[in-house]
C-alpha cells in the first residue's frame, strides 16, 4: 500500500487514488491523418518495464486531480511526483 504525495493535497494512502496507466502518451491532434498502425500504436501499445516507469495517477477520493508519477516497478519506490503538463524528471 503506497503512500502517495498528491501535489495538491499532500501525503495520502494509496486507497484514495486510482492508477491511470502510462503517462506522456498524448492523444493525437489529427487522428484522421493517422494510419491504422499509427493509431493502434497510440491506442494499445503500453510499456511494462522493470525499472523506472512514468505513470498517470488520479486522486479519485480526494481532489480528483490527475498528476504524474515516476515509479520504480522493481521495488515500488516512488521517485518523483509532478503535475500534468510538466516534463518528466531526468533521473
Amino acid at each position: 500500500m503506497f503512500l502517495i504525495n498528491c501535489p495538491y493535497c499532500g501525503e495520502r494512502d494509496q486507497q484514495e487514488f486510482k492508477a491511470g496507466g502510462e503517462a506522456h502518451i498524448e492523444r493525437p491532434k489529427q487522428p484522421t491523418e493517422l494510419s491504422d498502425d499509427e493509431w493502434a500504436e497510440y491506442l494499445f501499445m503500453r510499456k511494462n518495464i522493470k525499472g523506472v516507469q512514468f505513470e498517470r495517477w488520479n486522486h479519485a477520493h480526494g481532489c480528483r486531480k490527475w498528476f504524474n508519477m515516476a515509479r520504480d516497478t522493481s521495488n515500488d519506490e516512488i521517485k518523483a511526483i509532478y503535475k500534468m503538463g510538466e516534463k518528466p524528471p531526468t533521473q
Binding site: 500500500m1 503506497f2 503512500l3 494512502d13 486510482k18 491511470g20 498524448e26 492523444r27 493525437p28 489529427q30 487522428p31 484522421t32 493517422l34 491504422d36 493509431w39 493502434a40 491506442l43 498517470r56 488520479n58 479519485a60 480528483r64 486531480k65 490527475w66 521495488n75 515500488d76 519506490e77 500534468m84 503538463g85
Partner: protein, 1001 residues
C-alpha cells in the same frame, strides 16, 4: 492415565487460579497463564491430532505460532466453532472446549490411520496423479477424503462476535518484544519518537525471559532477571504504547502493516460478552524495527514425528516458563550447544535427562562440563536412525555417523525415553522482512537467510537479523539504533555483557539411517506429511524450481506455511541437485504470517454495513407500496410492485400494459446527472459524444452516445441545454461515476485549454418519469398554467416550472416510446412531487412501475441498455445506430477507431431482433445462437441480450447480437437449450410503433 507433570511453581503461572477445560470431551485442569498446550502436557497428554495424509498420531511440537501439529477445533460442538487453532497459542479459560482435528472417529482410534500402512501408495504428487484420472473416480475418493482428512470443520452460523478496525500512525513501530525489541522501543520513545511495540504473546521478553543459563549475564545479573526489571520500568516511559497478543499478519510497501490484536480470546465466556473480540490494526509507520526473533529448526531423521518429539527450546519453555515437564525420561538430539541449556535446566529442576545425542564430534562450550558433571551421557558423532512408539515415543535407536555425514556405522544402541528434544539450530524469522520487499542473502557458512537489502526506513535487529549471541545482539543493536534513529547514544551503551559462545556447528539437512531412504519416513513438513523421500522423488521426476517442488509435494503449504521445515526442504533440494542453496532462492513468504479469521478482516463491514447503498428520495413510498427492490450498482431500485397474490411475471405484464394504455410512473432518480458549464461546454460535448451539439437550441434535449477511444459504446443518455453555456447531462445509473471520471480525465489531461466545469448533481435531484397517453392530462392537473401543446412543449424539449413554489425542471423525453415527461425536483421535495403525480393520476389509474417494466417497454422499442445489449465490444455501427454518428465532425472520442480495419469488418456481431417461432416461448438471456443443429463443432453466432414476453404485442420478443446479423433479416436460426432446440427468425430491432407515432399521441 493422567498424571500431574507440574514440576515447579512458575512466576508466570497463577497456581491459585485453577481453571477447568475440556479436551476431546474430557475435563482437565490447568492454571491461569497456561496455554492449552502447556495444560495438556501437564496432564501428560501429547497425542493431540492426526496428520493430514497418513493420519499418523501427532503431538505438540513447539510452544508458539509455528506449531504444525497441535491444531485443534475450538468450541467443537457449537455452530460457531473455530477450526485450525494452535493449542500453543490458546490461553486457557474457564469453560474452554477444544478437540482434535483430522481424527475420525477419534484421536485414539482413527480410520484414516490405515493410510500410514498404505504409505507406499501415497507418494508425492499422489493427489495430482490419482484423483485427477480417471475423472470419474474423483467422486469415490471425494467421500473418503472429505470424511477422513478435512482440516477441521468450518462454522455454519453467522459469527456473533464483534470485530473492529483501527488506523494507527506512529513514528517507530517495533515488531517483537524480545530483548532487542524492548531496548529498541524504549530508546526510540526516549528520543521523542511516538513508538508502538507489538508482540504476539501475552507476555513481554521473548525467549530471554525464561533463560536460565548462568553463563549469560547482563550487568552481573542473569539475563532473564535483568530483563524483568527493565520490563517493569517500561510503563513509565512516555511516547511508548505496547500491545501484546498482537500478531503482525502482513507488511506492505511504505511501512504499511496489518496486525491482529486479540482482545478477548483468553477471557471466560462471561467476560467476553459484548466486547470486541479482535481488532485489525492498520498501521502506517514512519520507521519499522523488526525484532521478530528466530525459530528453532527440527532435525530431519527417520520417524521424527512421533508424539513426545519436540523442539528443544519448547521443552525449555514448558519447564522454565510454565513449570511443566514434557516427559519423565528425556533425551536431546542436537547439532549445536543450545540443547545443552535445555537439558541442564531440566536437570536442575529434577527432571531426568537420559542422554544427549550430538552429531558433532565435540564442543568447547563451558556448558558441556556441567552436563557431564550432572552425569548425563553424551553420544558424540551419533545420529538417531529410528524411533519407536505409536502414540508416544518409547525409544530411539542411534548409530555412529560417518565423517561425511551421509551414512551410519557400527552397532545400534537403543535408549528408552518418553520425550525427545530436537535442536537443529536457528532460522531467523524473516517472513515479514521479505513481505516488505526487502531482499535476503544466504549465509553459506551459517546456513541461514539473513537480511541484505532493507526496504526504506526499516531495520532488522536481534536474531531475525542474524545475531544470535547475547553480546553480538546488544552490540549490534546499539550500533544499528544510533544510525537508524540518528541519535548519539543509547541508554544501554557500555552495559556489561557476559556469555558463552557457540564453538562448533554441523549442519546436515537429512540425517542418514541404516535403512534405505525408501523405507524411512523423515518428515520435512509435519502438517502436510511431506517427507524428504517425497522431495527427492519430485527431483527425480524432473521438478527443479523450488516453487514447483513445493506445490508437487505440498511442502510448506499447510496453515503453518512450513515455518519449521522450509529450510530443510531447500537444503535437501540443493544437496540432491548439487547446487548451492544461495543460488536456489527461497520460496515467497506470503501474508498472513499467522492465519486470520474472516471476522477480523471484515471488521464492522458486515450485514447492512457490507457496502454502502443508496436510496432515492421516494424510497419510503416504494416500501409502503410493497415494491420489490433490485440492486443497480449501489442503488436500491424498485423492481416491480406486485399486487396481492401476483407473481413477478403477472405484475410486470400488468404494469407494462398500463403504461401504454393509460399512464405509468417510474422513479428515475438514480440516473447519473452531470452539470456542465463554461464557455466551451458545447465544444466539449462535440468532442465526447458521437453526434453534433453546437446547434442544439437552448431549452432542447438530445440523446447522445459516448464511445471509448477504441470505438466501443461506453455510455448513453439525454443531455439538455439549459443556457448558452450550461448543460445537464444524464448518464446510465451504473455508469455515472465512471463517466464523470472519464470526462474529468480528458478535461485535465488532453484539453486543459477548454473552459468547462463539471459537477456531479445526481443526488441533488429526484426524478419522476410520467409515461403514457394520459400523462399530458396528469401533468396539466399539476401545472395548469403551463401550455403543454406540442408547439409550446414539443418532444425533446425542456421547461423550468414552479410546482407549489418548488423549482422543477421538466423534460419531455421518452425511454418507452410513449408520450413522457420527466419531472426533476430538488431531492428533498422528491417524494412530495411523486405523491402529487400519484394523486393527480388516480382517475387515470396511474400505475407505478419498476425497472423490469422499464426494460420490457424499451425492448419493445428496440432501445439499447448499455451493459446489457452491449459489452464493451459493440460499436454504434454494430448496434445499427449509424444515424447517431456524425460524419461531419472532424473528431470525437472513438471516431478514428470506427475506421480501423477490424471495426469496419462486415461480419462483426451486430444487434438484431429475434422472434420465436412459437410466440409463447421466451428465450433465456445469454442463450447461444447457432445456424446449424447437427454441425460439430458448432459455430456460435452470438447470444441473446434481452428477452421478454410483450403484453402489448402478445408475443415474445428478444434482442441479440449475431455475427453478420445485419444481413440475416428473415433468416431462421436456432437456440439449442438443454432439452429442446428453439427456432427463431431474425427481425428488426424495433418491435412496436415503428413510426414513433405514440410520442405525440
Amino acid at each position: 492415565m493422567t498424571q500431574n507433570l507440574r514440576v515447579k511453581s512458575s512466576e508466570f503461572i497463577d497456581e491459585t487460579n485453577r481453571i477447568s477445560f475440556k479436551f476431546d470431551g474430557k475435563t482437565y485442569y490447568g492454571f491461569k497463564g497456561d496455554t492449552l498446550a502447556s495444560a495438556l502436557i501437564a496432564n501428560n497428554i501429547h497425542l493431540v491430532g492426526r496428520s493430514f495424509k497418513y493420519h499418523r498420531p501427532r503431538g505438540i511440537m513447539t510452544s508458539g505460532s509455528e506449531e504444525p501439529n497441535a491444531i485443534v477445533q475450538v468450541n467443537p460442538n457449537s455452530n460457531i466453532t473455530e477450526p485450525n487453532a494452535r493449542a500453543t497459542e490458546i490461553e486457557i479459560y474457564e469453560g474452554l472446549e477444544a478437540s482434535s482435528q483430522n481424527c475420525w472417529p477419534s484421536v485414539n482410534f482413527d480410520i484414516g490411520g490405515i493410510n500410514n500402512f498404505l504409505a507406499p501408495l501415497f507418494p508425492a504428487g499422489f493427489y495430482y496423479k490419482t484423483f485427477m484420472w480417471p475423472k470419474s473416480f474423483w467422486e469415490k475418493y471425494e467421500f473418503f477424503i472429505r470424511h477422513s482428512a478435512g482440516l477441521g470443520k468450518s462454522p455454519n452460523k453467522r459469527d456473533p462476535d464483534i470485530y473492529d478496525h483501527r488506523n494507527i500512525h506512529c513514528d517507530v513501530l517495533v515488531v517483537g518484544a524480545g530483548i532487542s525489541g524492548i531496548l529498541a522501543a524504549r530508546n526510540a520513545a526516549k528520543n521523542n519518537f511516538k513508538t508502538l511495540l507489538l508482540d504476539e504473546k501475552n507476555e513481554l521478553g521473548g525467549s530471554t525471559i525464561f533463560e536460565a543459563n548462568e553463563d549469560n549475564k547482563i550487568n552481573n545479573n542473569l539475563a532473564s532477571e535483568w530483563l524483568k526489571k527493565e520490563i517493569n520500568e517500561l510503563e513509565n516511559i512516555k511516547n511508548l504504547e505496547i500491545k501484546t497478543r498482537t500478531s503482525v499478519a502482513a507488511y506492505h510497501q511504505y511501512n504499511y502493516l496489518l496486525a491482529r490484536e486479540n482482545l478477548t480470546d483468553h477471557l471466560n465466556k462471561k467476560d467476553k460478552k459484548n466486547k470486541i473480540r479482535q481488532r485489525l490494526l492498520k498501521i502506517r509507520a514512519k520507521k519499522v524495527i523488526l525484532a521478530t526473533g528466530a525459530l528453532e529448526r527440527p532435525l530431519i531423521f527417520n520417524n521424527n514425528d512421533r508424539p513426545g518429539i519436540m523442539l528443544s527450546s519448547a521443552i525449555k519453555k514448558y519447564s522454565n516458563f510454565y513449570g511443566v515437564a514434557c516427559g519423565t525420561k528425556n533425551i536431546f538430539f542436537t547439532n549445536n550447544d543450545s540443547a545443552y541449556e535445555s537439558a541442564l535446566s531440566l536437570h536442575n529442576k529434577g527432571i531426568k535427562v537420559e542422554a544427549i545425542i550430538d552429531i558433532r564430534e565435540n564442543s568447547d562450550a563451558k556448558i558441556i562440563k556441567k552436563i557431564t558433571d550432572a552425569g548425563i551421557k553424551i553420544y558424540w558423532s551419533h545420529t538417531i536412525v529410528d524411533t519407536r512408539g505409536y502414540k508416544r515415543i518409547r525409544s530411539i535407536s542411534i548409530m555412529r555417523l560417518s565423517n561425511d555425514g551421509t551414512s551410519v556405522t557400527g552397532s545400534k544402541i537403543s535408549i528408552s525415553c518418553n520425550c525427545l528434544g530436537i535442536a537443529g539450530g536457528w532460522t531467523p524469522a524473516v517472513h515479514l522482512y521479505t513481505q516488505s520487499g526487502s531482499k535476503l542473502t544466504f549465509d553459506e557458512e551459517r546456513k541461514i537467510f539473513i537480511p541484505k537489502t532493507d526496504a526504506k526506513e526499516q531495520i532488522s535487529v536481534g536474531s531475525c537479523g542474524g545475531d544470535f549471541e547475547l553480546d553480538e545482539i546488544i552490540t549490534n543493536l546499539n550500533y544499528k539504533l544510533k544510525n537508524f534513529l540518528n541519535i548519539d547514544k543509547t541508554d544501554f551503551e557500555g552495559i556489561a555483557l557476559e556469555n558463552d559462545h557457540e564453538t562448533s556447528k554441523r549442519n546436515i539437512w537429512l540425517l542418514p539411517s541404516d535403512q534405505t531412504i525408501g523405507k524411512t519416513k523423515p518428515f520435512v513438513d509435519y502438517q502436510n506429511d511431506a517427507t524428504a523421500k517425497d522431495i527427492k522423488l519430485a527431483l527425480r521426476e524432473g521438478f527443479r524450481s523450488i516453487e514447483h517442488v513445493k506445490r508437487y509435494t505440498t511442502t510448506g503449504m499447510g496453515t503453518d506455511q512450513g515455518k519449521l521445515g522450509n529450510m530443510h526442504a531447500l537444503g535437501i533440494i540443493a544437496d540432491t541437485a548439487g547446487i548451492k542453496m544461495g543460488e536456489l532462492g527461497t520460496t515467497t513468504f506470503r501474508p498472513p504470517y499467522t492465519p486470520l479469521t474472516f471476522g477480523t478482516i471484515v471488521g464492522r463491514n458486515v450485514g447492512e454495513f457490507f457496502d454502502t447503498f443508496r436510496r432515492t428520495p421516494m424510497n419510503d413510498w416504494h416500501i409502503k407500496n410493497k415494491a420489490e427492490f433490485e440492486n443497480v450498482g449501489q442503488w436500491k431500485r424498485s423492481w416491480y410492485y406486485p399486487k396481492e397474490g401476483e407473481t413477478m411475471h403477472q405484475a410486470v405484464q400488468r404494469e407494462s400494459k398500463a403504461a401504454r394504455q393509460s399512464a405509468g410512473i417510474l422513479d428515475a432518480s438514480t440516473l447519473g446527472k452531470i452539470d456542465i458549464q463554461g464557455s466551451d461546454a458545447s465544444e466539449f460535448l462535440n468532442r465526447v459524444y458521437t453526434n453534433a451539439w453546437s446547434k442544439l437550441a437552448i431549452g432542447k434535449c438530445r440523446y447522445g452516445l459516448m464511445l471509448n477511444e477504441d470505438g466501443m459504446v461506453y455510455d448513453d443518455g439525454v443531455t439538455t441545454r439549459l443556457g448558452e453555456n450550461h448543460y445537464i447531462m444524464t448518464t446510465t445509473t451504473g455508469g455515472a461515476a465512471n463517466v464523470l471520471g472519464k470526462l474529468e480525465d480528458y478535461l485535465q489531461t488532453e484539453w486543459p485549454e477548454l473552459d468547462v466545469y463539471l459537477t456531479s448533481v445526481t443526488d441533488h435531484f429526484a426524478t419522476a418519469s410520467l409515461c403514457g397517453p394520459n400523462s399530458k392530462k396528469i401533468l396539466n392537473k399539476i401545472i395548469p398554467d403551463l401550455d403543454l401543446s406540442d408547439d409550446n412543449f414539443p418532444h425533446m424539449s425542456f421547461k423550468e416550472v414552479l410546482i407549489d413554489k418548488i423549482n422543477c425542471r421538466i423534460m419531455r423525453i421518452s425511454f418507452t416510446g410513449e408520450l413522457s415527461y420527466e419531472i426533476n425536483a430538488p431531492a428533498s421535495y422528491g417524494e412530495a412531487i411523486w405523491q402529487k403525480c400519484i394523486e393527480a393520476g388516480k382517475e387515470f389509474n396511474i400505475t407505478p412501475y419498476g425497472t423490469e417494466t422499464m426494460h420490457l417497454l424499451r425492448a419493445e422499442k428496440g432501445f439499447i441498455i448499455v451493459g446489457q445489449d452491449t459489452d464493451g465490444t459493440m460499436t454504434p455501427i454494430d448496434l445499427q445506430m449509424d444515424w447517431i454518428v456524425s460524419k461531419k465532425k472532424y473528431d470525437f472520442i472513438g471516431k478514428r477507431s470506427l475506421y480501423r480495419s477490424d471495426t469496419m469488418k462486415e461480419n462483426r456481431k451486430q444487434l438484431v431482433g429475434l422472434l420465436t417461432e412459437d410466440p409463447n416461448i421466451v428465450l433465456e438471456e445469454g442463450a447461444q445462437i447457432v445456424s446449424e443443429l447437427n454441425q460439430k463443432p458448432v459455430e456460435m453466432l452470438g447470444h441473446v441480450t434481452s428477452s421478454y414476453f410483450s403484453p402489448n404485442l402478445n408475443k415474445s420478443i428478444a434482442l441479440a447480437v449475431v455475427k453478420d446479423g445485419k444481413n440475416m433479416k428473415g433468416k431462421k436460426l436456432f437456440i439449442p437449450m438443454e432439452n429442446k432446440n428453439i427456432s427463431v427468425t431474425v427481425s428488426n430491432t424495433v418491435f412496436y410503433d415503428e413510426k414513433n407515432e405514440r410520442l405525440n399521441a
